[in-house]
Amino acid sequence: MTDRSVASSLEPVITTKPLEVESPFRRIARAFVEDRLAVLGLVLFLVIALAAILAPWITPQNPYDLAQLDIMDGGLPPGETSFATGGTYWLGTDQQGRDMLSAIVYGLRISLLVASVSLGLAITIGVAAGVAAAYFGGRLDALIMRVVDLQLSFPAILIALILLALLGRGIDKVILALVIVQWAYYARTVRSSAIVERNKDYIEAARCLGFSHRRIMFRHLLPNCVPPLIVVATVQIAQAIALEATLSFLGVGVPITEPSLGLLIANGYDYLLSGRYWVSLYPGIALVVTIIAINLVGDRLRDVLNPRLQK
């Protein structure tokens, strides 16, 4: 009885073990969709990204073309009709007669553009520096990591403010500032996981086969450092959006005739006491929703990719 029960309980386990190996991507995707909130975040983010990409075709006005603005339409509340064109301003207008709906969609476009370009550049620089530091070790490692330490010891906003005060306004300059502020996070993350991987047998094997340093670093070492990198990247992209908004709010970011979300909020700030809430409120909501959506996705990815948290 006892023997048989043990045997029968063991038997199915052995026989039902799947034979085909699931790809890591599918495993991650399957685990990801288990969390409904994360899926909601992803859908929201995709909608926002799509709207931002298609902005010139879906908005009623190009808020950056000064000739399309009319100050006679300035400060209209949501739902008012334009004096100039007869169109409706669903979210009202700012002081310059800029349609808030169009301005928000274009603002999102700037926010996402700035965040993704700076993310790409910062990852490239950070990963190269981090992998090189871990792989070669020694003086190069010490040098790179001291620079990283030095930079991480200052608040990001402080460094960005100083840089922009020196460089002046402009989208390219904001991107440059964000890259300089953010590469250190990636370098630090990649280095720590690369150091763990460096001493494993497969790297040793690759060395014995006489592969070049570059091939070992980028073909063998790097792919195994990707999961933590993805998690840091999702957190950092939300950070980058918030940082850009902060810089523009403080008046050192984008030019005033091409407002991003942060600058729209700053413009409306003067009118809060006088009841023109819509100039600040709606860009603020757009900013919060975007950041929350990205964070939901990022949180779930962290759970899925972290082996310690797996059931």
Binding site: D65, L69, I71, I256, T257, L273, R276
Partner: protein
């Protein structure tokens, strides 16, 4: 029941009557910026002047619309082109009890060059004086090195000090380059003490705590009408929001410069708003000297050298819309550099809004498709400056001039402006003297730093005929003749669109409903001119 109600009402009225006078004893004012010193000869700055005019008085003074009035001098006359005679008021006492005489006037003029580390010196008023001499105790004769028609106006900004309180000897004699009998001259920090800050004004200084408050009390021996308030407290509240909040919550009785966008809310709260046209003009200046930076689409030429282009810019601007939409009605479209009927104005019409004509003019000048330009502006100096600049950019874009707005904080703007980094910029000018020679001399005269001409003329407008007429005006003693010359000069520059006036700012004060204040063109907030109408609030 009815009787009880009536009694109750009577009790309230009685209580109101009892508390009203007690309340009227103190006036608290929230100021936008703070005086840098209590020394009236330290820093020639309007924030200092408006506070110190409560404690000190000049020989002359300007009323609310900057007309000259007698103050410590009862009358004055030009004896000849270079000599002025001032008759001094008799029976005037300083706060320390000493009599006001010609000796105090001489001491005051003598001390001006002896003030150390002055950020903006009063020597611009005394530099031309070759002699200041007493003619008896109650008359002073001032000799200048050339005709100086503005001397009586300028002396309104130069308050008289007490020779006794500052430790002068019994005999003070004026000499350019060093007076005699000055004794030990106290420097500016000493004026924080009420024993040194002694004037003839309606209020005496009690306490000055930097960043916190300035307290003054009524001077019982004042020669003029008895001052309204027992005690006046002035508090610097530089942020707009907190200053408005302080008024709304009752912490202060009156504030200066509430932000325009908050005015409807202040009025809803039952407060009184008064406003006046100020002497500050907001204008556009254009680079008219060779190659201009930050231009595009012009093959390297500077289109602003062409008068037609400058005229097109002026016609492209809808000044009414800016005054109405951006300035909330608290601005008046401008046709010249001072609002008429101030001295030297010629009632010139405001340039009309005519975008079609502007396009034609651009085409005639050879720019049918317009060009690209950068408009420089400060973003924290004038009322809604950055918003006005954006509106201008919008209007220029409509006639084909693609305009980028480069906005920055005032200090950065002024240094870049002076380095001629902008092909076109927005700025403002307040005429402290209240007459036309001030803006003409600074904004339009040919640039000559050493002569003090055109010092703010970063667009480098230059016209020899204009310079000639202005120079003549500045040395003409006869008022009518001088006014005609100033009108001529102004017309020359404006006909050539050497500068483009936008609007005159309006200065706003907000106060409790039971107070009244006659709004001043010079934007000063002077406590001694705040009146209580005596009626309770409703």
């Amino acid at each position: 029941m009815k009787l009880a109600t009536t009694r109750l009402a009577a009790a309230f009225v009685a209580a109101g009557a009892l508390t009203a006078p007690a309340y009227a004893q103190q006036l608290t004012i929230g100021l936008k910026s703070e005086a840098t010193s209590m020394d009236p000869q330290f820093h020639n700055l309007s924030t200092n002047t408006q506070v110190l005019l409560n404690v000190f008085e000049g020989l002359t003074k300007q009323d609310a619309v900057q007309r000259l009035e007698p103050s410590l001098a009862t009358e004055w006359e030009a004896v000849d082109d270079t000599t002025w005679r001032f008759t001094l008021r008799e029976g005037v006492k300083f706060h320390n009890g000493s009599d006001f005489t010609a000796r105090d006037v001489i001491y005051t003029m003598c001390r001006v060059p002896l003030v150390e580390n002055s950020p903006s010196s009063y020597t611009i008023y005394t530099g031309t004086m070759t002699d200041v001499a007493a003619d008896g105790d109650h008359a002073v004769i001032i000799t200048t090195d050339g005709p100086d028609p503005l001397l009586p106006t300028e002396l309104a900004s130069l308050p008289i000090l007490s020779a006794d309180a500052l430790g002068a000897e019994d005999e003070v004699t004026y000499a350019q380059g060093g007076c005699e009998g000055m004794g030990e001259v106290p420097q500016s920090p000493a004026f924080n003490s009420p024993d040194v800050a002694v004037g003839t004004g309606p209020y005496t200084l009690d306490e000055f705590t930097r960043g916190n408050q300035l307290v003054m009390s009524r001077f019982e021996g004042y020669w003029g009408d008895a001052p309204n308030w027992e005690r006046v407290v002035m508090r610097p509240i530089s942020s707009d929001g907190p200053r408005v909040a302080a008024l709304l919550s009752g912490d202060v009785d009156m504030i200066e410069s509430p932000p325009i966008q908050d005015i409807p809310r202040i009025e809803q709260g039952g407060f009184k708003i008064v406003d006046a046209l100020s002497n500050r003009i907001i204008y556009l200046a254009m680079d008219q000297e060779g190659e201009a930076p930050s231009l595009g689409g012009t093959n390297g030429e500077n289109p602003l050298l062409d008068q037609k282009v400058r005229q097109a810019i002026s016609l492209a601007i809808n000044r009414e819309a800016i005054a109405e939409r951006i300035m909330g009605g608290f601005a008046v479209p401008a046709g010249e550099l001072l609002p008429p009927p101030m001295f030297g104005t010629s009632d010139r019409d405001v340039d009309p809004y005519d975008p079609e004509r502007a396009k034609e003019l651009l085409a005639e000048a050879g720019y049918p498709d317009g060009f690209q330009i950068t408009l420089g502006t400060p973003n924290d100096r004038y009322i809604n400056d950055e918003q006005v600049a954006q509106a201008v950019a919008q209007m220029l874009a409509r006639v084909g001039i693609q305009t980028t707005v480069d906005a920055m904080t005032a200090s950065q703007f002024f240094s870049r402006r002076n380095a001629q980094e902008f092909p076109i910029y927005l700025a403002g000018w307040g005429a402290a003297s209240g007459e036309m020679s001030s803006p003409l001399k600074s904004l339009l005269a040919t640039y000559d730093k050493d002569a003090g001409m055109g010092v703010t003329n970063a667009g480098r407008y230059s016209n020899a005929e204009f310079d000639e007429i202005l120079r003549e005006a500045m040395t003409t003693i006869d008022d009518a003749e001088r006014e005609t010359l100033l009108q001529q000069a102004g017309t020359i520059a404006l006909d050539e669109f050497g500068i483009i006036p936008l609007h005159y700012e309006q200065t706003v004060w907000a106060m409790k409903p039971e107070l009244s204040y006659e709004p001043r063109v010079d934007q000063y907030t002077i406590a001694s001119q705040v009146e209580s109408s005596g009626e309770g609030s409703n």
